[in-house]
């Protein structure tokens, strides 16, 4: 990934004499020392914590009679206290990796406690409500410790809530408040990510919102909804990616996520519009729109944002295949459509190459004197 590319490029620049070898080595050492860098040992620790948590959860589910249930309850509360205190002590000793694992175990023990009480008193209420309480507890742990690991657990639990609603068939009805709780949970996770600096856990929240929107559309399909998805996505993407947009600096600071997810949303919207479109004109318009959005993404954000670029390629290729198989009116008509779009894209490419060439010449002039 990035680490590998960085090392390769440094070697290239050192070879060209642009960068002293000592500086390159120092820069790599600085990168490796960062908190956010992937460390196999730390990740394995947290995965081990998840396995142990699964064992605790299943021990509760087994409803084992050898242990009286009051003893089980006291045991679970003991685990909650033990893991929180262990996390605190490990943090004080500066052992962040082990502390993260302990806090994951602490939040999972709280979930086991909720399940145990539900079992003790035969609560036949919905599992989704229990997960909400669990999320609240996990949020407290994440906030109190500013723990990125606990935030990630929250993100996973938000998904668990969404999937539980899906499996219980409770979602999609716009009237029900549970439906609106899913994006609210995503917002909570994003806030936690900002506060705890959990970085990658933000994707759990973004993906949750996307999945939720798609599900909402499947349950309430309408042309207006599809148009809103497409329009909202394209506006958000333009706000994040068009040079000169007031929101662009903020979006760039947040990394590649804002541009990528708004782009994905726009693509989903236009794909859904294509599904809604009927008649030849509608089909041609929808097909052209998907192709234009894909090109727009590649042209506007492709240079800085690899994720947008590859999603754009994939959408472009997928749409080409779809149109070729779907046939717009007749094969001759589809061929004509591709002929016109091919010529148009070639003309745009010629323009873009000229603009890029001029930009590069001015930049070289700035650097060389």
């Amino acid at each position: 990934m990035y680490r590998g590319r960085l090392e390769r490029d440094f070697k290239h620049w050192v070879g060209m004499g642009l960068l002293p070898e000592a500086s390159a080595r120092q820069m790599l050492a600085e990168y490796d020392g960062r908190e956010s860098t992937f460390r196999a040992g730390r990740v394995l620790l947290v995965l081990a914590a998840l396995l142990l948590s699964a064992s605790i959860l299943l021990l509760v589910a087994a409803n084992w009679e050898a242990l009286p249930r009051l003893a089980r309850l006291i045991g679970i509360v003991g685990l909650i206290w033990g893991f929180h205190l262990a996390g605190a002590l490990l943090l004080r000793r500066g052992n962040g990796g082990l502390a993260a694992a302990a806090l994951v175990l602490a939040t999972m023990s709280f979930g086991a406690g909720i399940a145990l009480v539900g079992q003790m008193y035969h609560l036949s209420g919905e599992a989704a409500d229990a997960i909400l309480l669990w999320i609240a507890g996990a949020c407290v742990t994440a906030l109190a410790f500013r723990s990125a690991a606990a935030t990630t657990v929250c993100g996973g639990l938000a998904w668990a809530y969404f999937l539980t609603l899906l499996s219980e068939g409770d979602l999609g009805d716009i009237v029900q408040w549970q439906t609106w709780l899913v994006p609210a949970l995503a917002v909570v996770v994003v806030v936690l990510v900002r506060v705890t600096d959990a970085g990658r856990a933000r994707h759990l929240a973004y993906l949750l919102v996307m999945a939720w929107l798609v599900w909402l559309y499947i349950e309430n399909p309408s042309l207006a909804f599809a148009g809103a998805l497409a329009g909202g996505g394209i506006i958000a993407f333009l706000a994040a990616a068009v040079p000169g947009s007031p929101l662009r600096p903020m979006a760039l600071e947040a990394g590649s996520a804002p541009a990528f997810y708004s782009f994905a949303l726009a693509l989903i919207g236009f794909a859904v519009l294509q599904f809604e479109a009927d008649g030849l004109t509608g089909q041609v318009a929808a097909g052209a729109a998907v192709l234009i959005v894909a090109l727009l993404g590649i042209a506007l954000a492709g240079a800085q944002n690899g994720a947008v670029r590859y999603l754009g390629y994939a959408a472009f290729a997928g749409e080409l295949l779809y149109l070729a198989f779907e046939t717009l009116g007749s094969m001759l008509g589809t061929s004509g459509f591709f002929l016109i779009s091919g010529l148009l894209v070639a003309a745009i490419a010629w323009l873009v190459i000229r603009i890029e060439g001029r930009l590069m010449r001015t930049r070289r002039k700035e650097v060389s004197p």
């Binding site: 960062r34 929180h84 008193y121 109190a144």
Partner: protein, 197 residues
């Protein structure tokens, strides 16, 4: 991406641990006590059940219980039925029958006043859709006592008894109309008696 320098915690770790553990323990304690108080102080009624080993991922094996009072005929609703779909709950007045079991005597979509020798039970919230036919069918409601969790593998006995209609369930109901299973009996002999904690 986010800032390169890691953010520092804002609370001393031990304080953070105390806050999280106390709040989570309090949540569990509240859940326990809210149910145990029904078992301790609720009024007891005996319900008849009518005719798999389902498993819940987190809480384990359970037996599904359905009651006579889970199906309410429209005639019980003396105040009439709502005419528009609504998120609502049903209140059911239970009265003791000569055979010792309690049955629904009256039902309403509005709270029922307490009357001696009867207990008011409140259903779980549900979405009511009015029926368009002349003779609307019975309304199916849940009371939150439809599951009984058993040790792994022990569900069969109860299920056979339930299917033979030999199972009876003692339930305690508090003033707010919330119910809690206290005892399960097969042919009148208690098999599971629930402790307070």
């Amino acid at each position: 991406m986010t800032g390169i320098a890691p953010k520092r915690g804002w609370l001393p770790p031990l304080v953070a641990a105390l806050i999280a553990a106390v709040l989570q323990t309090a949540a569990l304690g509240y859940m326990v006590e809210s149910r145990a108080s029904i078992l301790r102080n609720g009024k007891e009624v005996l319900l008849k059940t009518v005719p798999v080993d389902p498993r819940d991922l987190l809480r384990g094996d359970y037996v599904i219980l359905s009651y006579d009072i889970s199906w309410l005929p429209p005639a019980l609703f003396k105040g009439g039925l709502p005419t528009a779909p609504a998120e609502t709950a049903v209140f059911v007045r239970l009265a003791k029958q000569p055979d010792g079991f309690w049955a629904a005597a009256e039902a309403s979509f509005k709270p029922l006043a307490p009357v001696d020798d009867s207990v008011v039970l409140q259903s779980q919230p549900f979405t009511y859709y009015p029926s368009s036919s002349e003779n609307p069918s019975s309304i199916n409601v849940d009371y939150g006592i439809e599951r009984f969790y058993v040790p792994e593998g022990e569900g069969r006995v109860l299920e056979q008894a339930r299917n033979a209609e030999a199972l009876s369930v003692s339930v305690r109901i508090n003033d707010a109309g919330r119910a809690q299973i206290r005892q399960i009996a097969v042919e009148g002999t208690p098999v599971y008696e629930e402790p307070l904690y």
